[in-house]
Each structure stands twice: as C-alpha cells, then as structure tokens.
C-alpha cells in the first residue's frame, strides 16, 4: 500500500489523501454490496498529515546579547579632621517667681475686682456640688492580677549557692542591679561574689545574662544606686569596705573604694545610701555611721562619721539591757526621710529604731580610731522589736511615719513623735527581711518574709492581713530584699535565697492613688496617743 505522507498545499491535499485511502481500502476488499467471509488482512499505515503545522511553518533565528564591559575605578577617602563632643544633661535649675513691679498694681487691682465675684461664686458652687460624687475615670488599662514579668539570675553565682542579698533600681528606673553574697555565713569568707545589672528596657534582654557583671573579692551585702547618676552604684562588702562602681564603663567599673584603713568599718556593712551628690553613707554592725566622699582617683575619703554608743542613746524608752562600758550599738538598716535630707532612721541589732540627724554635734564617747571626729547622731529612741531590725523605710508621703521590720516577724508603724509604735502587724512566723513603702500609694507597703513570699499590705482595705501574697520561691527559701521602681511604678523587684531576682508587675489597684488616700494617711498618723 502506498502511504500518502507528502505535505501538499492546503486542505485539498488532505481530503484528497483521505479520499485516496478510502478508495484504496475499498478496492482491496470485496465489494460493498456482497457479504464475504471474514478474513484477516493487513492494511498499510494510514497517516493524516498535520494541517496546522503546514500552515504555520517553523521558523527560527539565532540572537545573542552581551553586556557591555563594566568600567571600574578605585578611589580612597580618609577623614582628616575629627571633633570630639560630649553631651550631658544637667540637673534642672530651679526658677523663681518674678517679683511684682510697682506700676502694675492698679491694673492688678482692677482685674481682681472684675473677677472676684465670679470666682467666689464658683468656689461656693463647687463646695456644695455633688455632681461628681462617685465619678471615676479609668485612663489606663486595668491590670487585674499580679504577674511575674522577668525571672533573672546569674548562673555562675547560683552555681556557687549565693543568695541575692540586695537589689536596687537606678534613677531612671530601667536598670535593676543585684548583689550576690551569703547572709547565713557567720564567719569571714573569701568567697568571690558578683554584682549584676540587667537593663530591662533593652530588647535583647536575656534573663540569664546580665548586661553588666562585676566581680567582687568578697561577699556584697548591700547595694544602692546613685539618686541622679544612672550608672553609679555603691555596695558594701562583708569585709567592711564600701565600693562605688560605674556600670557604664565596661573595663574596670570600679570608681572608688574605701580601702581597709582605720577608718573603715570592721564589721559587715549593712546598708549604703546616697545622701548628697557625691557622698555615700554606710552603716555597719560595729556601730559606726560613716559619710564618704569620692575624691580624686579611686579613693573614698571619710568626711563625717558618727558612732552609736549605748551610753549616749536618748532615754526616751526603757531598753532591756543597760550594759556598762562603751558598748557599740550595731546598726543594721538605714532610711533617709524624704522631707528632711539630714534626718535618717537607723535600725539596730537591739531591735529599737533610732531617729538620727546628720547635724548632730555631740561627740561620741568611743575609742574607735578615726581620722574624723565621731559624733553621736541619735536624737530619739523608739520602742524595740522582739529581735534585730533588718529593714526600715520612711514614708514618702508623710514626714512622721516610718516602718520597721525585724526578725520577730512583726512590722511596726512608728510616728516620729512618739516612742511606742502606732500599730504592730504580725506578718509571718519567720524573719522579715525587708519592708518598703509604695512610692505611689500612701497606704501601701510591701514586706519580704523568710517563708519565701512577698506580702503587699493596703492599710485602706485591711490592716490585719495582706491584700496580696506573692509566692516567690517554691521551696520556701527566704526572700531577702525587695524594691519598688519609682519611675515605672507598677514594677516590684524581689531577690531570694535561690539567687533569682523576680520582677513583678503589680495590678492597677497598687499603682493608682485613690481620691482620699493622703488624708487617710494623715488620719492614721494623727492617732498619736496623748
């Protein structure tokens, strides 16, 4: 059979080809009219040529492209002149009221004549109005629960079994620093310890990696940030030294140290505090209260010193023991009054708080060597606790109130006007290690107990039991220190014996003042027994 596979012009070829096939097929077999026996036959291959491909035709061309060659040239640049500049914010300068000029008085009188009647009318209306009774506005989102924001720790310190002995927030409220040491060693130890700081405002905050770590040769017992310099922090060591570090310097943060001279404390320093711009106050159980100033390079020099001697304590309350001789009274806690910068309250080992003043003039009867004459600062003695006091705190809202907490598990609220406390609350059966007033709510304070919890008290709600109890440690190991953040008032940091610092976010009820709290506090303070 012939196959018609040749391409031909258009459809005529196609149909002709098909017609040819048809005729070929018919011709070979028997005629269409006559049925014949079925037999196998092999026909040829039939192919139908493509119609469209013949139409299209395939055409191709070759093209190529090439980028033009790249021109390169070398040049170098070098800055020749550079200028160093530093920027520093200064503390704001207080401004004063302009004194009135003489010639304005008649106009002022005319103005006052015009407005006085209207103002008096409005004052009267306001005094009698009940329009706003019970009306309260919520500006911020209400946070109902207390939650733990961060759990911070330094693994090498925790591996050594160190406790967090003290924490402090810096002046801008963004950095929390903690000191590691041990509070239960009764003897000298040469344990290396650390001071760690975390910057909570950084986005890459890693809870186990502090932003600044300082290694200290001896256990650090207490820590305090400078009130205006955000990076200076002072710490008191077990060996009696006081050191000041600058955490913004990465190599060698140590700024000043007292060294081990005759002037330094001989017992562990229990609390440093910053009183003035460059002065550090330190108190220790050897009975000395010392004021240091950083001078020159590296050395803290003693500017003023006070010594507490049993004999010289004012006899405003009966103390249990009256030993002979010049026994020192060990001081364990200090708190400055927010209203009078020279007044401070000392907590002592004997359990009685002392009201002291930096301006006291009487010389101390002590034989402790010192380059600066030591004075007796105590002005008033308050009724004692059942055990040593570990923490005192002066109220930021009332000039006469302060709290003290000690090993008897009680918190006493004292007024500076009388010796016995205004109220005494039993918070825990174990020791109380720290007590702090809230910086925003006049009637709220927090206490850290040896049972591992932080108790928040709201004297407006209940004066008997805590409003909120925050469990910090799971195994009831004690919480040694706590501090409120005065800039971000919803944060509370607490450090415990497991070496972790937990930053708690308080609910809104602890951060916003109610309408009459200041007056309620005044009422409380006025309950002074006649």
């Amino acid at each position: 059979m012939a196959t018609r596979a040749q391409p031909g012009p258009l459809s005529q070829a196609g149909s002709a080809g098909v017609a040819a096939l048809a005729t070929v097929g018919v011709a070979s077999g028997p005629g269409p009219g006559r049925p014949g026996p079925l037999q196998d036959e092999t026909l040829g291959v039939a192919s139908v040529p493509s119609q469209w491909r013949a139409v299209q035709g395939i055409r191709w061309e070759t093209k190529s492209c090439q980028t033009a060659s790249i021109a390169t040239a070398s040049a170098s640049a070098q800055a020749r002149n550079h200028v160093d500049a530093q920027v520093q914010t200064e503390a704001p300068v207080p401004v004063s009221v302009q004194p009135p000029s003489q010639y304005d008085i008649p106009r002022l009188a005319a103005f006052l004549r015009r407005v006085e009647a209207m103002v008096i009318r409005e004052l009267n209306k306001n005094w009698q109005s009940h329009a706003f009774d019970g009306f309260e506005v919520n500006w911020t989102e209400q946070q109902q629960m207390v939650s733990c924001l961060y759990t911070l720790g330094y693994p090498p310190a925790q591996a050594q079994g160190l406790h967090v002995t003290s924490i402090s927030w810096n002046s801008t409220g963004s950095v929390v620093a903690c000191a590691y040491g041990r509070l239960d060693h009764g003897d000298w130890s040469t344990l290396k310890s650390f001071v760690c700081a975390w910057n909570l405002d950084r986005r890459d905050l890693r809870p186990q990696q502090p932003s600044a770590v300082v290694e200290v040769p001896s256990a650090v017992l207490c820590l305090a940030f400078h009130p205006t310099q955000p990076s200076h922090v002072a710490g008191g060591l077990y060996s009696g030294e006081v050191l000041v570090w600058d955490l913004s310097r990465l190599e060698d943060p140590l700024l000043w140290r007292t060294g081990l001279t005759d002037d330094t404390h001989t017992d562990p320093v229990s609390q440093p505090g910053h009183s003035h711009r460059f002065q550090v106050l330190s108190v220790a159980t050897d009975g000395k209260v010392l004021l240091w100033q950083g001078i020159g390079v590296g050395q803290l020099q003693l500017t003023e010193g006070f010594a507490l001697v049993m004999q010289q304590l004012p006899r405003s309350t009966k103390l249990k023991k009256h030993p002979r001789g010049e026994t020192e009274v060990g001081a364990t806690a200090v708190a400055f009054s927010s209203f009078d910068p020279r007044l401070f309250i000392l907590g002592t080992e004997g359990g009685f708080p002392l009201k002291c003043s930096l301006a006291a003039g009487e010389a101390a009867l002590t034989r402790m060597p010192s380059s600066v004459p030591l004075r007796a600062p105590a002005q008033f003695t308050f009724s004692p606790h059942g055990g040593p006091i570990y923490s005192v705190s002066c109220s930021p809202f009332h000039r006469n109130l302060f709290l003290s907490a000690g090993t008897d598990g009680h918190v006493h609220l004292y007024s500076m006007l009388q010796a016995p406390p205004l109220t005494s609350l039993q918070l825990s059966l174990k020791y109380l290690f720290a007590v702090r007033w809230s910086p925003v709510r006049p009637l709220v304070f927090a206490a850290a107990s040896g049972k591992g919890d932080v108790q928040l008290f709201d004297l407006q709600k209940s004066s008997q039991k805590p409003t909120v109890l925050i469990k910090q440690t799971q195994d009831e190991s004690p919480v040694y220190c706590l501090e409120f953040n005065s800039q971000q008032t919803q944060l509370l940091a607490a450090g415990d014996a497991q070496g972790t610092v937990k930053v708690w976010q308080l609910s809104t009820e602890f951060t916003e003042q109610g309408p009459r709290e200041a007056e309620d506090l005044d009422c409380l303070a006025a309950e002074v027994a006649a």
Binding site: V95, V97, R107, A109, F111, L123
Partner: protein, 125 residues
C-alpha cells in the same frame, strides 16, 4: 527656656502705663489686692491661689516657687488653647471661665486680657 534673673533694680515703666487712680500714693490698690487675694485664699477648701500675667509669669502666689512656676506655665498654655477653641467654634463667643476637675482637686482659672487668676480647691467629698 525662660530664665528669670533679678537684676536688683526695678524695671523702667513702659510709656503706655496708666497712672494710678487718684489715691494717696500706691497704698490703696496694693491693700485692695492683698485683701482680695486673702479673701479668696481663705475660702473653704482652697489650697492655693496665684495670679499670672499675660506671658505666663506668676506675679502673686500662695504656693511654693517650683509648684507655682509649673502651674503658671501649664495653665497659661491651656487657657490660651481653650480660648482659641471657643472662638474657633463661634467667633462671637469668648472664654469666661475654665475649670479642670481631677481626682484630687479642682483647678479654676479666671482669664482676662492681661492676667489669669488660678485657684486650686479641694472639693468637700
């Protein structure tokens, strides 16, 4: 940032200042000013009173310096803003009195062309 310095001498009087009313010396208007301010200050619940001039500088006050300066600066701006708000809504209208009620107390401002009288009152509740 304004800085107030006391040069130790009285400023020269402006030529447009009016002479005082016919009173013996300047004693009477002075006494009247003091009396009026004392009346307002001794009203029930008033915590503080101050008079601020057209530039926001306090002239008379019963509070301490830093608080006064803060109140004067802030309330001066707020009063100007309130005044322009009222006049923008209706040019025939004008601000006569401004009261701000806060959680702790109420601040009342009586505005005028040359001065502002600010009174802070603690309401009875």
């Amino acid at each position: 940032m304004n800085e107030w310095t006391n040069t130790g001498r009285e400023p020269d009087p402006l030529p447009s200042s009016l002479p005082g009313p016919t009173a013996p010396g300047l004693g009477e208007p002075q006494a009247e000013v003091e009396e009026t301010l004392k009346r307002i200050q001794s009203h029930k619940g008033v915590i503080g009173t101050m008079v601020v001039n057209a530039e926001g500088i306090p002239i008379r006050t019963t509070l301490d310096n830093s608080t006064t300066v803060q109140y004067a600066g802030l309330l001066h701006h707020l009063t100007m803003k309130a005044k322009s708000t009222v006049r923008d809504i209706d040019p025939q209208n004008d601000l006569t009195f401004l009261r701000i009620r806060s959680k702790k107390h109420e601040i009342m401002v009586a505005p005028d062309k040359e001065y502002l009288l600010i009174v802070i009152q603690n309401p009875c509740e």
